[in-house]
Symmetry: C2
Subunit: 327 residues, 2 copies
């Protein structure tokens, strides 16, 4: 055997192990993606043809709405149906608490005897831009590993997190009665992508009022392709309403199962993702590799001293990398 | 006069009118920036050398923290000192309410007899990416128009809005006691850029507890370049604590007034802005102009059908625009 082929063979083995659902191989691949290791790209490429069969469910809501509890209960319900489940928990809220990592361990222990479930927490490191792409890649790995359902939970507070749930097949927005978490404060972007509303802690006072508010907003926003988002009450900590929620998700899936609808949605989703991926790659290639930090700082200095204006610098950068406009 | 020179002369006139503070010329220029009109770039270029003397104050906080009231009171305090004030109110929270536009009119009426104040509301239209750049450009116009202080208020819920306040010289983060708006839910990015904490509605119960929480978090996060963010209590509706807040801002300004500190911050700010501007321009140039929507959709189709993987398509796009890696 030619020694130069060894790395390729190793990656093929690795890919096979992931596809047969081996936890260590999966965890290893996810770490490679998170750390931007060079093998990650080749692994993702080889796994990609084996994806497309898992169902991605995005779960979002403010801190304290009970996302983790609900996701755990939903996962258990799917396991009872014999489906393999992956969970991706994205926590972009705070670098101080370390809550994501701790919660991850507790949850892993709870499910530790079940090989049909895989849980991974991802916390933001510095700049948020890459988190949406990374979680999309992690979802692909879990799909290729044979997970039938992948739950992605995230605090829905920012554009970046809207991007994360945007890649889901079905998105749940969690709200809780009387949390000052009014319908008015719902981000426009989140409103647009919510397929099912969940009122968690529905045994609290004001649950009916919150439901009314959501319905009023929905009557204003209208239906999308014949689907009006249902409002499902749950009490996750007591496992109430979870079966009904799973049924709602199934209803949504059936509604969009026709090839025409599915194709349109898939195309739109991949258009978005390709744009995001290209955006990131372009910045990396042009600003980091071709222009470089040193020159960027020199430009910034010149602008700060008002010796140059930023608008002509941007055109200069485009010219330098051969992208200036031929007008 | 050669007729081909007419547009340039018109833009020069326009620029002169803006610099002398004419409201109509300012409004017209801001609209041109918002709508991406072709003259906008040339106006910004010509105004740029006349900027750099205004002081930008970012004001952010959840809905209901009283940002608008506080900004109005601060503006009035600065007017009393004889300073010219610009206000940029960015509302990215909801496309349904139209609250921004209505609030804008009410506020304009309140200050309508004062030519030393200019208020402009900006609501998000569709994708949020461009809002940070647009508000930065609007701030430049107001600076060139001779405003000494520019207040930028925004609901600090997303990465996009963190980007907006990042361009400020001094950033205030507003919190309100007992709003479920706990210190824990503060976005990491927001925490990093907060220079002064304001506890508004400080006459509510639990104000002391909130102050304690903020101080505890600050002791953990530490000081930056010798500055520990103060916590200033206010009751904006009763104009209480506003003078003290203005004094805190002045203290912050003085702290960072040394040429070395100011230069370092200016350079870092412009480095960030140049990156953002380049990112947007690269996507526009490559994806919109060179690749085009039709080809992007064809790629998305191929990926959705698993005929191609997205990773190799991105490399193909880079190759097509002459940016592929020479390794």
């Amino acid at each position: 055997m030619d020694s130069s082929e060894a790395p390729t063979l190793q990656i093929q083995d690795w890919v096979e192990q992931i596809r047969s659902g081996e936890m260590r191989a999966i965890s290893h691949a996810i770490s490679a993606v998170e750390n931007g290791e060079p093998e990650a790209l080749e692994i993702l490429r080889q796994l990609f043809p084996h994806t497309g069969k898992g169902y991605l469910i995005g779960v979002t809501g403010s801190p304290g709405t009970g996302k983790s509890s609900l996701v755990d209960r939903l996962a258990a319900a799917y396991r009872k149906q014999g489906r393999r489940v992956g969970i991706i928990a994205v926590d972009a809220s705070s670098p101080f608490t370390g809550g994501a990592i701790l919660g991850d361990r507790i949850r892993m222990q709870r499910h530790s005897t079940d090989a049909g479930i895989y849980i991974r927490s991802m916390a933001t490191r510095g700049y948020l831009g890459g988190l949406a792409r990374t979680s999309a890649d992690v979802a692909l790995i879990l799909e290729a590993a044979g997970k039938d359902v992948i739950l992605i939970e995230t605090v829905g507070v920012g554009q970046d997190e809207v991007e994360i749930v945007r890649l889901a097949d079905c998105t749940l927005v969690l709200m809780v009665p009387g949390m000052g978490d009014d319908v008015q404060t719902l981000k426009a972007g989140l409103m647009e992508i919510s397929d099912i509303f969940v009122i968690n802690k529905a045994d609290l006072p004001n649950a009916a009022r919150l439901e009314q508010q959501i319905r009023a907003m929905l009557s204003f926003a209208g239906t999308r392709e014949g689907w009006t988002p249902p409002v499902v009450p749950t009490v996750a900590t007591e496992n109430k309403g979870v079966e009904e929620l799973a049924a709602s998700i199934e209803g949504y899936r059936a509604h969009f199962a026709s090839p025409a609808r599915r194709d349109r949605r898939q195309r739109e989703r991949w258009r978005q993702r390709l744009m995001e991926m290209a955006r990131e790659r372009l910045v990396e290639r042009v600003l980091e590799e071709q222009i470089g930090e040193k020159r960027l700082l020199a430009y910034a200095d010149a602008v700060a001293r008002r010796e140059r204006d930023p608008y002509s610098i941007i055109e200069e950068i485009l010219r330098q990398v051969g992208l200036s406009q031929q007008r």
